[in-house]
Amino acid sequence: MPAGRQRLLEASAGNGGSGGQWVIVAPESATNLPKKPGSEPLFTKLRNPSTGQAALYLFGSDGCQVFEVKAFHEEYRSWFIGEAVQHDGRLLFATPVDPLFLLLFYLTKAEKEGKFQPLDQFLVDEEFSSCAMLLNCKNVLQSVHHLVDEKEIGGRKFYKYSEEKALKWLKKKVDQTVKVLKDNDIPVGGKVQSATFISGKRNTDTTEEDYIRYAHGLMTEYISEELSTALAQYLRLPQIASPPAEPASKKRKLSDAPVEAEEDYTKFNTSDLKSKKANSKMSAAQKALAKVDKSGMKTMSSFFSSKTKTTK
């Protein structure tokens, strides 16, 4: 008995480990029956487009859709499931993710070579071979033009990453996200204001910039640090003065610490921008920025103000 108990304790030490059983919330559409035999949904690892590191994803039947898997994970949680107990108290969520984000990781990586390639050649990754499946996702081929310049040679299509296009596409994503944040009354200003949140009233102190900054922060979870910086510039997000006590570079270091720290991460997001030196990447962003005319900005702000009026 003591030996068995010891084993139990060790196995569960992290509480993130799993005893071969998982509790997950997934879209109903993820369990649609496949049209082709042997193409049932697949849990597989892909590169997180933000970090380049392994993360779990779920391809729906026939690989039509891709879902990212996140977990509500609190240290002291376990499940009773029917007549059983499961020590791993995580609640997994499979939620749709735009496959273009995952594609973008490979496109930007290849950009260094700067040549036109067929799409499948971008997605050669020995460590994460499942990434080739991304091309089967619905509408990927039709929408990849948001991110690339195209050339057709001898009936074959060749592509090259375009940061200018990508930024334009990301800005639309940010606009869409702002709308979603507002529609769902997600508190985006300063700290969480639980009282405001509960009453369902929007904090009047929250500015459009807060929303854009927040949406940009969410977007940063899906793009590289360089692109995130470029996007912030493209969105004309003003830099927030970081607390005078600590220089931005130190702050950045701090953000490597485990996430237990009670911090307002908007600060980190903005300090990212501050600490980032203008590099060769930036010139592309700046070029793009130069092309953005002021009417574009106007459209954005008018969109927001009209939105604010129509929501209660």
Partner: protein, 173 residues
């Protein structure tokens, strides 16, 4: 960790139709055990829930007071308990062991409220879908056949409680 080395796992959809619906309780403690638990004997009969639908439930576990709230799986989503199918031959396979439509979230001494992490985390699917959809006409957006045709507006909480009311939740046995 051994888990890090695991390869892709196929979800055996044939296991879904026959999977039983089970009751889930998320406990505010780490029970260092995987296996049988006499929930029906010890736990379920001890749960006290007042009449009103949104009222907090109470129970105790190991002599500690728990307060809980039943929440529904987000609209358009389903709750699955997956288990590794060790009998699978070539590739890894997970099968649906059971399904759930709601779960009871228990906290120590104070019932979860809408600013609790767990309840807020249930907003994530809706936000994720919103971020995913690019509703720009004529641009060949990478559309997604989400469970929600469009994103309904209005406060999340309201939506949440609506769906709580509209779907007949399972009572306690």
């Amino acid at each position: 960790m051994a888990g890090e080395e695991r390869g892709p796992a196929r979800l055996a959809l044939l296991s879904l139709p026959g999977a039983p619906r089970e009751r889930l309780h998320l406990l505010p403690c780490a029970v260092r055990h995987d296996g049988a638990a006499a929930v029906r004997r010890y736990f379920a009969p001890a749960i006290r829930r007042p009449g009103e639908p949104d009222a907090e439930a109470s129970v105790s576990f190991r002599g500690r007071s728990l307060k809980g709230k039943e929440v529904l799986v987000p609209e358009g989503y389903m709750g699955l308990v997956l288990e590794e199918d060790d009998a699978a031959l070539q590739e890894r396979q997970v099968r649906v062991k059971s399904t759930f439509e709601s779960l009871t979230v228990w906290n120590l001494e104070q019932a979860p409220n809408s600013s609790d992490e767990i309840l807020m985390s249930l907003q994530w699917p809706k936000i994720a879908e919103g971020v995913r959809i690019l509703s720009i006409k004529g641009q060949g957006s990478s559309g997604w056949e989400g469970p929600l045709g469009s994103i309904p507006s209005g406060p999340f909480c309201k939506f949440w409680y609506y769906s709580c009311k509209s779907r007949k939740g399972a009572g306690y046995g």
